[in-house]
Amino acid sequence: MTLKNDQSPKINIWMIIKRELKHKKYGFITGVLSLVIATAGFVGSIVLLKGDELATEQLFIEKERELREEMLQLEDDYRVIMRNMGYNVLILNKEQSLSELESNGYASTYLNYEDVWKIAESDMKTLNHLMPVLQEKIYWEEMNIEIFLSGIRGQVPVYSKPRHLTDDDEYRSPIMERVPEGKADLGEEIAVSLNLRPGDIINVKGEKFEVNRVYARRGTRDDMSVWVPLDKAQSILGRPGLINGILALECVCATEMLGQVKEEVAAILPHAQVFEFSSLIAARADVRQRASKLHEEIISAERLHQMELREEKERLASLLVLVLIFGSSVWIFVLIMNNIRERKHEIGILRAIGFRRHQVLQIFLGKSALMGIVAGIIGCISGAWLGILWSGADPAYTGFENLVSLPVIILGLFLAPVLALTAGFLPSVMAANQDPANILSEQ
């Protein structure tokens, strides 16, 4: 007698199930495998889609934040340009030499005052905030000082851009205020050196002005300037009806179309030439703007592309899920149908040797359920894992429960047992209900 002989066998339904599974390992494993594929396909494709969606969303949020930052930076750049330069375009007489302008500090050639109205009344849209100026350096005898005398009339309304204008055709936010009749604005250095304040009366070459305001220090020749109404400057300087420059603000839109302003001005004023003060900064801004515009385009194109891709993926995934579930159902069914003769024979034997019908059902459905449960667990885990892996989503970032939702897992865990039991139920019940001899005689 060996020790083994003394061991009592455990004779019960479970022992039969276990032994049968062990005996038919291959069948069990293939069954589990097909159920795992179905479950993993189902769970995996849902997780994949969800992960993909979350990963894409994350990407866009980051890209959009980058873009916003860049846009803010861009706006900032423009604000700096405006503050420092005020205007960024200067229109002069074509004859004006640049070196002379440089050395004098003002233009010695003239345009007609009407010229500015020609631009203003044209449908030119690239220029804005037109400001005719008559400016010369003079010796201010009364104060014994050299100053720049600037005659301005405020900005000429550009009628093609009515949204900048009030009902009175005044600019809502002019770059430079109009100088009221009979008054003068002073640069900081003049006011300080001559100890002048708003309300003081000054006399410029026989014309009386009340000091209107004193500009803060700009660090340019503006600090040495006196601004008076244009007509007064024209009479003081003896240039009636003339100006020597038009200041203007080039639209942001125009920075994209270098040369367009020049062309358009030339068409209206053939005797004029155009300088862009800020071409360097504008160019920089332009590059940035182009970049961000491009960026924006890329993002929206990307978004569109991703949406199309996702739709495509969704279509593919749902098709895949259907194919997987259908395929593995068919496979399981075929497996079971293939086994049905064999299974019927076993059922017949078990019934013939005294197994009750419910016991036989317990054995076969227990086997199916076990198969389904094992496959469900493996399928859910592997499906979720593969889905996360392929989607590229980071569960640490998106949250695991957002990627793998509980209902999906519950459905996944139920899918395999339901498939296995439906495929196994009818044949087992049918076989168990037959006369044992009839089942056995079918061989």
């Binding site: 002989n5 004779i11 040797i353 005294g354 197994f355 016991q359 006369d435 001899a437």
Partner: protein
């Protein structure tokens, strides 16, 4: 009367709408302690008779009384229960369960009758000893010779101490020595008060039986009283 069969008819339906009459008005009675043999050529209906008598196959006509209960008048569940408790069956093809060893095979009817106990296991081991199977106790049926399988099938049929034993060709695959051993056990079972219905085409079985029925084409020809 342990078993009383009367007026049994049974036809098998053939595919080509022609029915095969397997049993034609068969009647039979077996009392406690009786060993009854049915003898006849292959295809005469012996197995069919045994299946019907054993509660495994519905007859077309007639009744089967086991301990005064008509087996085919009760529900399938009750019939199963009766079978599990009162009937031992040795099938012509043995019907052993391939994935469990012979000790377990012999004990397996205890699942249906819910009668497993350590004393039952002791009984199984003693049957294994009596049937010269001790050296094979942990082998699976596939590893046994046909004669060994036949003995396992008989041990399984006897494990629950049935009131009646049905045996289909229990010596069909045995040599004379082993056939003698098996028949001795079957007649011992009868001597101890069990009823036995044994079918075979082997004429030599007659000397062990109290009565032998000659069967041909589904009906009894004669009734030979041996004792």
């Amino acid at each position: 009367m342990v078993l009383s069969i009367s007026g049994i008819n049974k036809s098998y339906k053939k595919v080509k709408n022609e029915a095969v009459k397997a049993l034609d008005n068969v009647s039979l009675e077996i009392d406690q302690g009786e060993l009854v043999a049915v003898n006849g050529p292959s295809g005469c209906g012996k197995t069919t008779l045994l299946l019907i008598a054993g509660g495994l196959l519905y007859p077309d006509q007639g009744e089967v009384l086991l301990d005064n209960t008509n087996l085919y008048d009760i529900s399938a569940n009750e019939r199963d229960k009766k079978r599990a408790e009162k009937i031992g069956f040795v099938f012509q093809q043995f019907y052993l369960v391939p994935y469990i060893n012979i000790l377990e095979n012999i004990l397996i009817p205890s699942i249906g009758s819910n009668s497993y106990s350590s004393s039952l296991e002791k009984r199984a081991r003693s049957l294994i000893g009596q049937f010269n199977l001790s050296h094979r106790i942990h082998h699976k049926p596939g590893e046994l010779s046909t004669g060994e399988r036949q003995r396992v099938a008989l041990a399984r049929a006897l494990i629950n101490e049935p009131k009646i034993l049905f045996a289909d060709e229990p010596t069909g695959n045995l040599d004379d020595d082993n056939a003698g051993i098996v028949l001795n056990y079957i007649s011992d079972f009868a001597k101890e008060g069990g009823a036995v219905l044994l079918v075979t085409h082997d004429g030599r079985i007659g000397k062990h039986a109290h009565r032998t029925y000659k069967m041909k084409d589904g009906s009894f020809l004669s009734n030979t009283l041996n004792v």
